[in-house]
Point group: C3
Chain length 207, copies 3
């Protein structure tokens, strides 16, 4: 099993947990949990594979990804009521999943010798699109739209770390760790300490 | 014309009717009717073909699918005011379309010798994604989110019927009929008699 | 650089401006601006390329498209507060982008010798899907749903102009100009003078 397969499994697992948590907020049945878990888990990577014309798509090649997603859904179905704030658990798990998926997405594009901008975009797509599909389908406000929080920015920075670390000749494993660490640190800092970039204001404050 | 082509035509026709009914609820013009009819009609099958890398996509190969969808749109445009409850007609037509599309999706994946999990997922995707796109774009609450109703579950059970019936050597036509019957029966039972699976509750009732 | 590459660049630029304007309405940071600008700018053309199985997708082949989109995002980020009504600017820019993208989408399908219905659909998809993704992700009411305004109709008419003009042997440049002119004129007329098609009413008025 290659590094990227392993990263895909890890991000599938954690994204599936977030999808199942969204299903719990919508009070769905177990099949609804599996649906949202799978959509979230494989959405970003599927888009990456379709855009890069990788055949077959990763979970068609190894359907056990779907088993992992449904296992995660079952776990949440029987245990989510134990958590006081499911939304808080959701956004923190989403941060982990984002970090891993950005590493998987940018790493795959890098390994296929794509140009730096494509590596950047594939990291962002793989990291954020599964969660975006989850939020759009479930009528939640997409995390990418949350004001005053870094989200796509973290994916961008992580993908940039992949490009830079590869340029300096790090091994793929070290590149992936660097990328995930940068992504997660930024996202965690944004959630815990309010790190943010200046947002657009319709009228800038007078100096 | 093969069995699956025929099933695709049937599901395109019925899904197009549901798409046009949504357009009627949004009070669009005839081109808006054709847009929603076509999006709903070919959405699920298009996703199936892109994921399975079937080239060309079914409606690019046979554009008459789009003619069927637009014909259905026109029919609804001139006649939908005759129905007392367009929403009721919509959900029952959607149930028919779901049944046919699940048979088409799982059958195509089965005929391409994909593994059982991929057959299951392709049945679910082909059955539910066109309607999901319709609901997301038109700002209706997706049918997959309706509490206390079976929806994805019906697609799952129908696809499972395809896998099992194929395993026992039924002919493709019988497999498709079995799949569609299972899917429709479950969906109809859910709508008419309230059949459902237990849903997740944030706090389970005390024993 | 071919005609269609040029058209793709132009539609990327103008659609990116509209995406960035949506980001400004959501008060995002600069990365959020680039995200919405890129999604809107390449969304429709990406769907066209995936459906037509054109490999690689246009912006993977030439990542400078993404540079154009991010440049447009930056421009809007620093200047959008100068406009009194950003929504008005947005819908007029969207009309320009629609016209160019319909010409690019229908022209590419025509140049690949696809049938007339496929040319029509590719014009509509390339023209409207980027903006639709922008609106769905940002929770704005999709322009395709606006009552009493022509939108998909303009894309349809423009694509039809491509088919007809090609049939009469016009050069690709003239075909593209005709298509864009038809699309923009209809859209502008609809916005400025209220041109529309009759919409569906649940109960038609008595005669």
């Amino acid at each position: 099993m290659t590094l990227f397969t392993l990263l895909d499994y890890a991000s599938v697992l954690v994204f599936a947990l977030t999808g199942a948590l969204v299903a719990s907020r919508a009070q769905l049945d177990i099949v609804g949990f599996c649906f949202f878990a799978s959509l979230t888990a494989v959405g970003g990577g599927t888009l990456r594979d379709v855009l890069l014309d990788r055949n077959p798509v990763f979970w068609i090649d190894r359907p056990s990804y779907l088993g992992v997603a449904c296992g995660a859904a079952l776990l949440v179905f029987v245990s989510a009521h134990l958590f006081e704030s499911r939304y808080k658990v959701l956004v923190w798990l989403d941060a982990f999943a984002l970090a891993i998926a950005v590493a998987a997405g940018s790493g795959v594009a890098q390994s296929l010798n794509h140009s730096a901008p494509v590596v950047l975009v594939m990291g962002i797509i793989t990291g954020s699109m599964g969660g975006l599909m989850r939020d759009v389908v479930s009528n939640e406000v997409p995390l990418v739209l949350k004001q005053g929080e870094l989200y796509v920015t973290c994916a961008f920075a992580g993908s940039a770390a992949t490009v830079i670390a590869s340029h300096f000749g790090l091994t793929p494993s070290l590149v992936a760790i660097t990328c995930a660490a940068v992504t997660f640190t930024l996202r965690a800092g944004s959630m815990a300490f309010g790190w943010s970039l200046p947002v657009y204001k319709s009228r800038p404050p007078r100096v």
